[in-house]
Amino acid sequence: MIETDRATALAAPGPAERVRLLLVRLFVRLGVLPFLLLIAVIVFASLSENFLTVRNLTNVVRQAVYLLIVSLGQMLALLTGGFDLSVGTILALTSVVSASAMAAAHAAFPELPWLSIALGSMAGLAAGTAIGVANGLGVALFGVSPFIMTLGMASVGFGIALYLTGGVPVYGMPVLFGEVFGFGTLLGVPVPILIAALLVLVMLVLVYRTRLGRSFYAVGGNIKAARLSGIDTRRVLFTTYVLCALATSIGGLLLTARLDTGEANIGASMPLESIAACVIAGVSLRGGVGRVENVVLGALFIVLVQNGMNLARIESYLQTVVLGLLLILAVIADQLRLRAMASLRA
């Protein structure tokens, strides 16, 4: 938008005006993300020569897996016109519960690590998804606003996670868990990336090729119209929060494998980062608009910025400031985009 404004100022009719129109069109069509990506790459590449290396970029993708998976879930909540502030808690609870269950099972059957891994993972997924079930019931059945419901559950879940562990990390999981799901590779590709890719695929099919997927857009686009069209809006809303929690929970398992401990303190920044990833990717806060492909890019972008700031030795406290600003910038860009759309129409 900054470039386009500058172009306006120069607007001698002719080439400059045409460039401006083209930029506005591109902006309306693609949103703010491509512009931000371009800026980020240019800035960080000039700040550090290590930034644009295959090794570093692979690293970015590997680090982005967790945020990416959570953002897929967050996108569903945003699509239906809500959001989920409890994703951080879901991550933490999954981590703590799966680690504890896995450690306990491993102590009982040390010779059967895969059994412990399976039991622990199931326990973790169940705990994480339970938060989503509560969110879904509150929002869909009792009409609690997503803001209050997920904020409340964030506190509930975090409290439970701390209570279960006394605030200390949980150790004692089978080594195999971390070896496979944290650091393992299959055909040269890191396992977490494979799982994330699989989830993206599932999400693409769900959102674009199923009736349920369409219902998310319909409910977020106009919930009254959806209801008058025979869509069971309560069921859709409930499903939204359960699926969001399930995705987040899977992300939580992978993160636990990577860290090799169960921790109650992971994921505190997840609500903000996942919403930022979605909004920067053009998912509307008003619901009904958003694409899976773009959300993948959005999550990659956030991690890319974090990585670039690390390489540029920007202090981590300041990084938090940048993230918050990025989120706000994305929302402002969304508004500008609406206005630009109207101006193109007139």
């Binding site: 686009g221 106009n222 959806a226 008058l228």
Partner: protein, 501 residues
């Protein structure tokens, strides 16, 4: 005429995204004149008065008040300059009392504190002068629509306006209240106030109007004396004759009864003991004032308005579960009056809006799957049948004109088998060409055996499109008119309160 007119519009235009609502309109209002604005829904009347009253500012052109160019940034500014407006949409705060609403924004004060007694006195005096029997201490949310209308009018009179804008002020008043209001307007006229008056009622034009300005599609068509013949006014308003708008109605069918409703009462009391039936191929009109229960009765049948008691029978079999999904599965579809509010997901493509009510149909894909090609094909077919312009189903609905948005909504009735179609105000805010297209489609559907329930506040629509008309009044079916009995006078006389002579 040496003196400048009281209010003058010169070449005023106003555009909204995608639509030019007003196109270089000139208008002149003299002191002591009642100037009637006449036109279809969507002709630009509302936009025009919103500019005059300071709700919005014109894009181009100018507004002159007593010869001086003015530009009102707000309703308050307009009011201070002597221009007051009463809109159809109320600007009342429901939680406040009548008196508090009347003085809202310009409260009498004693020092820093509100002068409650003075507010009540001001309200009392105003209401007495207007002859409205209202308690200044009553809360607005507890009042009927007509009473709220009176509060709104009282509010406009508070500032002793030089120009008064009234947007269908009698629409929800009883006949006595309406007479009282008209007398008041005449009294103001005598005092030199200029009144800009929107109405559809010929009787009111004849009684208080001096001149009539006709708007169509955002343009001023003509300004004529209020004595102009009705046929001529309608011709000016629509640009065509009645025969060009309404297709010939097929003869009333004697098909099997599709829907029978017995003693329907809604939980909110909006419908009381209503009974009606309609058969295949029949078009049944529901007429009545806003809030008369005509819309609520249809909504109750679709399961949106909770039912307290009564029976619903489809093809003679009682229906137990009344929800939109269950009714759709039985071939019943209700299309709501406000496409933005309840009808369309504006940010989604036309295609998704067309198929929204058909997502449970096997044609769109097996089991939980949605076949994108099947859906695209269906959308193209529907776009062709409803003559969507531009014929681009992938376009976001928001970007279509109001008329084409309405067509998209209507296409839902073609996306799945529908045996009973309930249309609630199907032509609000659409242009004449679309209107004619919609009417053709409705008649075509009826000819093929679809039972049509037409809820409408547009009287010509009811008169020319219905085999049978039910007039609702205060939630009850007050009259039933069949065939040749359906006429403007006959229908209208049941709209209002009957008074003891």
């Amino acid at each position: 005429m040496a003196a400048a007119p009281l209010l003058e519009l010169r070449g005023v235009s106003k555009a909204y995204p995608g639509v030019l609502a007003l196109d270089r309109v000139d208008l002149e209002l003299r002191a002591g004149e009642v100037h009637v604005l006449f036109g279809e829904n969507g002709a630009g009347k509302s936009t025009l008065i919103s500019l005059v009253a300071g709700v919005q500012t014109p894009d181009t052109g100018e507004i002159r008040l007593a010869g001086t160019a003015v530009r009102f940034a707000s309703v308050h500014e307009a009011r201070r300059a002597g221009v007051s407006a009463v809109f159809q949409e109320f600007s009342l705060v429901p939680q406040l009392t009548v008196a508090e609403n009347i003085v809202l924004g310009d409260e009498p004060r004693r020092g820093l504190l509100l002068d409650v007694a003075a507010a009540r006195r001001i309200a009392r005096e105003l209401l007495d002068r207007l002859g409205f029997a209202l308690d200044p201490d009553a809360r607005v949310e507890g009042l009927t629509r007509a009473e709220q209308q009176m509060v709104e009018i009282a509010k406009a009179f508070r500032s002793e306006p030089r120009v008064l804008v009234l947007d269908e002020p009698t629409a929800s008043l009883t006949e006595r209240e309406a007479r009282r209001l008209l007398a008041l307007v005449e009294q103001l006229e005598a005092q030199g106030v200029g009144v800009l008056y929107i109405t559809h009622r010929m009787g009111e034009i004849r009684r208080i109007g001096d001149r009539v300005t006709v708007l169509r599609d955002g343009r001023k068509i003509a300004t004529v004396p209020a004595t102009t013949a009705e046929d001529e006014l309608v011709r000016l308003m629509t640009g065509r004759t009645i025969e060009q708008i309404f297709p010939p109605l097929p003869p009333a069918p004697a098909g099997a009864t599709v829907l029978r409703v017995e003693d329907l009462t809604t939980r909110s009391g909006s419908v009381v003991a209503a009974s009606f039936a309609l058969c295949a191929g029949e078009i049944l009109g529901f007429a009545g004032l806003v809030g008369s229960g005509k819309s609520e009765a249809a909504r109750a049948v679709f399961g949106i308005e909770p039912i307290a008691s009564g029976r619903l029978l489809l093809d003679g079999a009682p229906v137990d579960i009344v929800t939109p999904a269950a009714m759709l599965a039985r071939g019943v579809l209700y299309l709501p009056p406000d496409r933005r509010e309840e009808g369309l997901a504006m940010v989604r493509p036309a295609r998704e809006n067309m198929t929204m009510a058909a997502l449970d149909r096997p044609e769109l894909g097996p089991g939980p799957w949605l076949g994108p090609f099947r859906e695209a094909r269906l959308a193209h077919e529907l776009a062709r049948r409803i003559e969507l312009r531009p014929a681009a189903p992938e376009r976001t609905v928001e970007l279509f004109s109001g008329g084409n948005q309405q067509k998209v909504l209507l296409s839902r009735a073609l996306a799945r088998p529908v045996r009973l179609l309930m249309l609630d105000e199907p032509t609000v805010g659409v242009d004449m060409a679309t209107r004619a297209a919609i009417y053709r489609l409705v008649v075509e559907l009826a000819e093929r055996g679809t039972a049509i329930l037409l809820v409408s506040s547009d009287l010509p629509e009811i008169l020319h499109l219905s085999h049978r008309v039910l007039v609702f009044h205060r939630g009850r079916v007050r009259a039933e008119l069949v065939g040749a009995e359906i006429g403007e006078e006959a229908v209208l006389q049941h709209f209002f309160e009957r008074e003891a002579a």
